[in-house]
């Protein structure tokens, strides 16, 4: 009797199951995860802690570091905003309208996931350079080798995050909701703005956050088009590489740590948005 109660209230790692292999698969997964990801990342944080508060802050307060962080976060923010508008529109067009080439376009939206960043980088650099196909069209306004160029590259990188987060939700919208709104006298614009958009907001926010987070850390597609002028168009990941090439490990570590901490915060925000929307709308 006492044995049974002890067994049922005892803390257990896992629920009983007849399926074998729990120890093997979980053990292997944890070992591999630790070796490849956790220990190296912990090493970075440990190195950074060894700098001490004053050392850490001194590196971050450096004007060039601050400008690089500002450029990275600023351009990623603008690009993610652009992607919210065009990505949502694109998702709408792809789910609602039938036109020739729709399937092809739907497949090509994932191109930024599949195309190596360096390839995208040189393609954008040559297109948007002042003498490139597109760059020359806008010529009084220089796009290539300025922060505008960075935004262009980050729009490309972030687009599928917004489209692919919003699209599944749009496919599930019940058309009757829209018909009900129309019956009650709403015009189409009001229906979209006040009935459909609120339901899509969590997905749009998640897409924004994913595109933003990816854009902040992006390197390959940006460095070719950015011009990489210190204080103007130098992104934070590039500054990490520069510090490493100078053997300034402390500098590289401090910049990497602050970016990592902000990424973790973003990850938390994304999870909170999803938890909030699950609570409010049932499912994401």
């Amino acid at each position: 009797m006492t044995n049974i109660t002890a067994a049922s209230t005892r803390w257990r790692l896992k629920q009983p199951s007849i399926i074998p292999g729990f120890g093997l698969t979980l053990g292997f997964s944890l070992a591999y995860l630790s070796l490849i990801i956790l220990i190296p990342v912990a090493g970075l944080l440990w190195r950074s802690a060894a700098l001490g508060w004053s050392g850490f802050l001194a590196i971050l307060a450096d004007e060039r570091t601050l400008r690089a962080l500002y450029v990275s976060f600023g351009t990623a923010f603008v690009a993610a905003l652009v992607n919210v508008v065009f990505g949502t529109m694109l998702a709408w067009v792809l789910t609602r309208y039938r036109f020739p080439g729709r399937r092809l376009i739907d497949a090509l939206v994932d191109l930024p996931f599949a195309l190596p960043t360096a390839v995208a980088g040189i393609a954008f650099a040559s297109l948007y350079a002042p003498n490139g196909w597109i760059g020359s069209l806008f010529m009084p306004l220089r796009i290539g080798y300025t922060p505008y160029g960075i935004v262009i590259a980050l729009i490309f990188i972030g687009l599928p995050f917004v489209v692919r987060t919003v699209q599944p939700l749009m496919e599930e919208i019940d058309r009757e909701v829209e018909e009900a709104a129309a019956t009650l006298g709403a015009n189409r614009f009001q229906t979209i703005l006040q009935v459909l958009l609120p339901a899509l907001t969590p997905a749009i926010l998640t897409g924004f956050a994913l595109a933003f987070a990816r854009g902040v850390g992006e390197y390959g597609s940006v460095i070719f088009i950015a011009g990489n002028i210190p204080y103007v168009s130098e992104i934070a990941p590039l500054l990490i590489v520069i510090r490493l090439e100078e053997f300034n490990y402390a500098g590289a570590t401090a910049i990497a740590t602050i970016m990592l901490l902000i990424s973790f915060a973003m990850l938390l925000v994304i999870n909170l948005i999803q938890a909030w929307s699950r609570k409010r709308y049932g499912n994401v």
Binding site: Q15, F99, P116, A123, G217, P237, Y249, L260
Partner: protein, 289 residues
Amino acid sequence: MSDNACARKTAFRNPADESFTTKALLVAVSLVFLTFFLFLPLVSVFVEAFREGWGSYQEALVEPDAWAAIRLTLLVAAIAVPLNLVFGVAAAWAIAKFEFKGKAFLITLIDLPFSISPVISGLVYVLLFGSRSLLGPFLKSYGIEILFAVPGIVLATIFVTFPFVARELIPLMQDQGTGDEEAALSLGASGWQTFWHVTLPNIKWGLLYGVLLCNARAMGEFGAVSVVSGRIRGLTNTMPLHVEILYNEYNMVAAFAVASLLALLALVTLALKTILELRFGAGIAGGRH
């Protein structure tokens, strides 16, 4: 009165739908946007690669350094992808088939590499194995080179492609539940038999889907690899790094020629991915990003 009704009838449109003009406008704006951000960049890679004809294109690819880069890229993917495949299957088995404490946290940790900048993914290995670390000089004394050598490139590639297979399989195997495996086990199958004959056929398309994405990223990774590679021509240069070197030397035709191979890989990946989604949609459920 009847005139009025007739006029109304011709002007009728579904009030729960946009007008034709609006639709046409939205499609047109989307196409212009995609032209500037997707189509033209993709087309320009091939146009630039063939700018000086087929001859120069071929020349750029058979050049020894380009060949070495292609071989290294294939080698790195051939090591990194199978390792992440084994991990993905093991992690998905543990997470989908069992209920245990800390599962949600484990899933978050597996997704972690997606939210880390590629440059930082490379940096962590430089700090771990570099000349000023604890491990680097120790391994070097035994003649083991990690940094600025192939093992470092493989490690950085494994890091950035870590979640791909696992995150395809976890939702898929969670959806499938444990019923099939329990039936097989109760009929006397061993654990391995159950995995090979019951689980694997159930997940094969999702697995292929994950491997496809994992491979595309492994062959195309630039940031993480560039930090750990040292960019030694012919030795530690992968294809994306070779593209960068050629581009910075203003050797545009050669840069875009190598880039066109990578772009081709991306297009093949997208085509196969689309076919998998269309034909085996249910078999890769949860497969969308």
